[in-house]
């Protein structure tokens, strides 16, 4: 039997039973669509998280107070449960001796009321240095960021997010105005143009001021963290060791800080989300096997219904393997067409979801399309084997008399 005859016979059968064919196509396409959608969600989450890290800048090291690992109980101080020493502005200043560091941005975080002209709202405060602008790759909409003064000086200036500007200043020009923040006053020198989030805070809602002014405002010398930007990525390990060495020396020989490499965290998240995406894809693939079982069941029924036809084909010279090929071809066409339909539906749905949720990037990975197509086809072949074998092994005499 020629290949085009095989296809013609298989297609003519599928067209002959449109409802059954449609149901099987839907079953397979739902399986493939599930793979596409779930992997798109996983990949989108990965893209979102890694994007957040990328937004922080590149070649960054983050210094946090406290040690993130268990150490042996040693000194009485440890046993007493005393908190680690705070990170201070002086600690940040001391890191300037590391030549491989390009920029340092100490950060203080807090929240306090801000007032202008009788209007008041509670605003998140970030106390930092001018380097923060470059480290976070922010852009100014108007005016200037913080002035380049020494870390321990606290000129009364601040920059504000766009929402703070619109809520407190309305149509007035905020630049050059005095804003009351807590019990301090600062002159607004710039409006931040960047949107999005920083340290979990909406950038449009924040007020940024010099770090020393923020420590004075909150009457708290401790830093939330220090961000250090390396000149080159290959110097990151060296810088990490130097930071630990210098701070340890400043903290009476106690290693009470944690230094995180931004790229390492990003890589970890990347790996986690890759595994998550694959796990989601695998779970969704189960539905493809369910669809395969459905195809098998329906085709087993079809073998019974088409006994007479199978008997006739044998009577007019069909070999067992030809009957086999005929049924397997039907199963492959069903699963393959269902997979293609599922791919179309899956990718269309992700586009619709992208429009509905523009902040989340639904990204169906290319491998998911290939894998779901292959799994659907394999499922069709595997689950088509049993009905095909049953059809080919039918006794022609019984088959011919079966549906008389």
């Amino acid at each position: 039997m020629r290949f085009y005859d095989l296809l013609f016979l298989a297609f003519s059968t599928l067209i002959r039973y449109p409802l059954r064919t449609l149901m099987l196509l839907i079953a397979t396409s739902i399986g493939v669509m599930a793979v596409i959608l779930l992997t798109a969600v996983g990949e989108g989450a990965r893209d979102y998280i890694t994007g957040e890290f990328k937004d922080m800048g590149t070649n960054l090291l983050i210094v946090l107070p406290g040690k993130n690992e268990t150490t042996g109980g040693g000194s009485p101080v440890d046993l007493a449960g005393v908190a680690p020493r705070d990170l201070t502005v002086e600690d940040a200043i001391s890191l300037r001796q590391i030549e491989a560091i390009n920029r340092i941005a100490p950060i203080v975080v807090g929240e306090t009321p801000a007032q202008f002209n009788g209007l008041e709202r509670s605003v998140p405060i970030i106390g930092t240095t001018p380097s923060f602008l470059a480290v976070r790759q922010w852009e100014m909409e108007s005016g200037n960021f913080l002035p380049g003064v020494t870390l321990d000086r606290s000129p009364p200036v601040c920059v504000i997010g766009k929402e703070v500007e619109s809520e407190l200043f309305g149509k007035n020009n905020a630049l050059g105005q005095w804003l009351r923040v807590g019990d301090r006053r600062c002159r607004v020198t710039g409006i931040i143009g960047t949107e999005g989030r920083a340290i979990g805070i909406d950038v449009q809602k924040i007020v940024v001021m010099p770090v020393s002014l923020a420590t004075a405002l909150f009457n708290r010398p401790s830093l939330f963290r220090i961000i250090a930007e390396a000149r080159n990525s290959w110097e990151m390990d060296h810088i990490k060791k130097e930071i630990i060495r210098i701070i340890k020396k400043r903290h009476q020989g106690k290693e009470d800080i944690t230094v995180i490499r931004q790229d390492a965290v990003m890589k970890s998240f990347d790996n986690i989300f890759n595994v998550l995406t694959m796990a989601l894809g695998s779970i969704a693939s189960i539905s493809l096997f369910v669809a395969g079982i459905l195809i098998m069941n329906v085709m087993l029924v079809a073998v019974s219904q088409r006994q007479s036809e199978i008997g006739l084909l044998k009577a007019i010279g069909a070999k067992n393997k030809q009957i086999n090929y005929l049924f397997i071809t039907e199963a492959i066409i069903l699963s393959g067409s269902g997979a293609i339909l599922g791919l179309i539906l899956g990718h269309t749905t992700t586009q619709v979801l992208k429009l509905a949720f523009p902040t989340f990037n639904f990204l169906p990975p290319l491998w998911a399309s290939f894998v779901s197509l292959i799994v659907a086809l394999l499922s069709g072949i595997i689950f088509g084997l049993l009905p095909a074998r049953r059809a080919s092994k039918l006794d022609p005499v019984i088959a011919l008399s079966g549906n008389k």
């Binding site: 020629r2 070999k319 030809q322 011919l400």
Partner: protein
């Protein structure tokens, strides 16, 4: 042409052995027109199935065109069915989703003949059964007699040596029956060996030879 020697076909039904064919010896020559008659359960259809290689005997020897079929495997028997034997069934056995031409074409599809050759043979076969104008009709659009003529066209399209017909007029009215009988007799006159299982006494009387079976044995074998 057909040589049966001590041929038996037994079936096990529960604990009993049913002797559907019992020690049949038979010789059928080329171009003979043989009617096989007998009451229900006498073994007519079993004999036809074995002659058509749809069933295998329990014992004995069946030689077709000088070749013993005893040790043939499934594929070899399928090849013989495809090239040397044509079947006509009482219930036509047309594939409903295919047109008349496609049904006639089916044996050639299975044999892997090319499209051009198939088209020519289909046209000839349909012309022989006077159904050229119905080639695009599906079975449901044809009358009983026309369906049987399509089935006859399908049975002769591979130019077999022998045509086996199982009650070919059983589902037809008298007018259609006469047409079909006339048609298959013409095929026999054209050189085809014809074996017909029938209950139709008239058809039996028109054949060259009448074989009657009873309880799996040949009880009458006479030339008309």
């Amino acid at each position: 042409m057909i040589h049966l020697e001590n041929l038996c076909r037994y079936f096990e039904v529960g604990n009993q052995i049913v002797r559907a064919l019992d020690e049949i010896d038979l010789e059928i020559n080329q171009n003979e027109y043989v009617s096989i008659m007998g009451v229900s359960g006498s073994g007519k259809s079993t004999l036809l199935n074995i002659l058509g290689l749809l069933d295998t005997p329990t014992s004995g020897n069946y030689v077709l065109s000088g070749v013993s079929t005893s040790k043939m495997n499934d594929d070899e028997m399928a090849h013989i069915r495809s090239t040397k034997i044509g079947f006509i069934f009482q219930s036509f056995h047309l594939i409903p989703r295919l047109t008349a031409a496609e049904n006639v074409e089916m044996p050639m599809v299975l044999s892997g003949l090319n499209l051009k050759e198939r088209k020519e043979k289909v046209d000839n076969a349909l012309a022989r059964v006077s159904l050229t104008d119905r080639s695009d009709h599906r079975p449901e659009q044809l009358s009983g007699g026309q369906r049987q003529r399509v089935a006859i066209a399908r049975s002769i399209v591979m130019e077999p040596d022998v045509l086996l017909a199982d009650e070919p007029t059983g589902n037809l009215d008298s007018t259609s029956s006469k047409e079909i009988i006339k048609l298959i007799e013409e095929l026999n006159k054209g050189g085809l060996t014809l074996l017909v299982v029938t209950h139709d006494i008239e058809m039996g009387s028109r054949s060259n030879r009448l074989i009657e079976l009873l309880d799996g044995k040949i009880v009458k074998d006479k030339k008309n």
